[in-house]
């Protein structure tokens, strides 16, 4: 019977690997998710007959699964498209917390001095799982704007974080080495929870996707450690797969932003921003605005228009309105393309998802490298709720926090139209010189509102 269980776990592991493979290609991605889910059903199905229920155990498992299914389904179904990254953060935190609690439960059975082969993986699972749990909650709070998205920094912060980490390591070594110190998972957990919070606080909201991806990899490793503790093949393999692929994905994500992972995590965005903010100090510059009718005429009589979507488009749910405008312009013979910056929106791929929902033709969505040379031939660049991804400071201002990030060459177009709610800086919190460019026209207001007005005006033009 144990052979059958082991083979079923192996099958589940194979399905996870195939699922990941399919998830990395646009054509098969959705099936990949189903493949992985099938692996999960098998792994869980095989686990059920292995359980030896106590009376209380049966009750908590039943209620726990029902509650978790309800919360998970409801959360995933109800969440708005714009809020999906923070939802992923919450689910990830839940997994990390579960991994830590599983390790704690197992430790309780082993008494105050477990053998090192059990103690090591459980300590690892508790620490990493707890960091992932509390870190994910902070990432959620930042993205949900329950707290400020700007980095929270104070003098000596790196030192304090380092000390917390050192305290955890020191504590673990002491417990493992000196028999008279009782194994206190509670203090370990509290320290790790604090570390998770302290680790994410100084990282800016714009970098949260990278952080969530990293914490996701952490949870994977915590799960693998729990697998070592429980001697469970499925946990080890699935957890490690996530830990490894998640780590690589984290690196790919920071690469897409043109920054190193170290810079994202410890760059203290904040320190540099105060410097850049002071250096800028160009208050009182004026911007150009225009009437909707003038803009409509400009657009309708252009040859080439490039639309640069950003988070503002997602917030305003303006994807259908923007498509309507693009369709209308195309009917008038204007060539319309969308320039998708790798980190436009709150997560990579955010804009692709959003525009695909509005049935924007795939061929019109251009990745940055593909379209960057076309900006100089564009008559109008329509920036809808984007900011940092077209900020020339990334090219020109070495002191700027986003310096070095690849940007869209919107500034090379003949005209630039900015749809923004206000002059407020983007998520990175820095001023954008392009707003003050003589070629730039500002159109203030909600993106959907502005686009709808623009559609009507173009119809009349």
């Amino acid at each position: 019977m144990t052979t059958a269980y082991a083979l079923a776990y192996l099958l589940a592991a194979v399905l996870f690997i195939l699922g990941l493979k399919q998830l990395s290609s646009p054509r098969t991605a959705r099936n990949g998710n189903y493949t992985a889910a099938a692996g999960m059903v098998i792994a869980l199905g095989v686990t059920l007959p292995q359980l030896h229920f106590t009376g209380a155990g049966a009750v908590i498992v039943l209620i726990g699964v029902i509650v978790g299914t309800g919360v998970g389904t409801l959360g995933a179904r109800q969440v708005k498209m714009t809020a999906i990254p923070q939802m992923v953060a919450l689910f990830n935190g839940a997994g990390g917390g579960a991994a830590a609690l599983v390790a704690v439960s197992e430790l309780l059975k082993l008494g105050s001095h477990p053998p090192i082969s059990e103690a090591l993986p459980s300590v690892f699972s508790i620490v990493i799982g707890s960091v992932s749990f509390s870190g994910s909650l902070i990432a959620f709070a930042k993205l949900q704007e329950l707290m400020t998205g700007t980095p929270i920094t104070y003098p000596g912060q790196q030192l304090v974080n380092g000390l917390i980490a050192a305290a955890i390591i020191g504590f673990v070594i002491a417990v493992l080495a000196i028999a008279s110190i009782p194994f206190s998972f509670l203090s370990l957990m509290v320290l790790a929870l604090i570390l998770g919070v302290a680790f994410v606080l100084p990282i800016g909201g714009a970098d949260m996707p990278v952080v969530i991806s990293l914490l996701n990899a952490f949870t994977g490793l915590a799960v693998a450690a729990s697998g070592f503790l429980l001697n469970n093949f499925a946990l080890i393999v699935a957890g490690t797969l996530v830990g490894a692929s998640g780590s690589l994905l984290t690196k790919l994500m920071s690469d897409a932003m043109g920054r190193s992972l170290g810079n994202v995590l410890f760059g203290a965005f904040g320190q540099m921003r105060t410097a850049a903010g002071a250096a800028a100090g160009k208050e009182g510059r004026s911007v150009r605005t225009s009437s909707i009718e003038d803009l409509a005429t400009l657009l309708a009589y252009s040859r080439r228009v490039i639309i640069v979507p950003g988070y503002g488009l997602a917030v305003a749910q303006a994807q259908h309105a923007v498509r309507e405008l693009a369709d209308l312009l195309e009917k008038k013979g204007v060539e319309v393309n969308y320039a998708i910056h790798p980190v436009a929106g709150r997560m990579p791929g955010h804009m692709n998802v959003l525009l695909a929902e509005a049935n924007v033709p795939y061929e019109q969505l251009k990745e940055m490298d593909e379209i960057n040379d076309d900006f100089k031939d564009a008559d109008v660049v329509l920036v809808v709720g984007a900011n940092d991804v077209v900020n020339p400071a990334a090219r020109n201002t070495p002191g700027s926090p986003i310096y070095g990030m690849p940007i869209l060459n919107a500034d090379q177009a003949k005209n630039i139209v900015f749809m923004k709610r206000s002059m407020r800086p983007g998520f990175a919190g820095i001023d954008n010189d392009l707003l003050y460019d003589p070629k730039t026209i500002m159109l203030f207001g909600d993106a959907k509102d502005s686009l709808t007005k623009l559609v009507n005006a173009v119809k009349a033009a």
């Binding site: 999960m40 490894a244 998640g246 994905l249």
Partner: protein, 106 residues
């Protein structure tokens, strides 16, 4: 090192390489769905949560087990559902390639 531990360690090392290799060619636009998909996969911790919760026999283990099962189930179910919602949006582009008008996704 016991035989079992050695076996487990072998799986671990091999899984590291497979995990890296299998997603190395992912395009940028799939970063987030992939992150969300892997997030769902580590919900496998539910297996561990079930193992400890089923045998709970003291107030402390009952509470720990219950919370672990709730959290892990939320991770699994929410993870897969939210990933599917993201990927559902990509359907529009496939439909755009075919002559038929895309059916409206909910």
């Amino acid at each position: 090192m016991t035989n079992q531990l050695l076996n487990e360690f072998t799986f671990f090392v091999l899984a590291v390489f497979v995990g890296i290799e299998v997603i190395s060619k992912v395009p940028t636009m799939l970063h987030t769905p992939l992150m969300s998909g892997t997030n769902a996969i580590h919900g496998i911790i539910l297996v561990g949560a079930l193992l400890i919760a089923a045998g709970a026999n003291s107030p402390v283990t009952v509470i720990l087990g219950f919370v672990a099962v709730v959290l892990a189930t939320t991770n699994v179910v929410g993870g897969f559902v939210v990933t599917d919602r993201m990927l559902e949006m990509f359907k529009g582009r496939q439909a755009a390639k075919t002559p038929e008008p895309a059916t409206k996704s909910k």
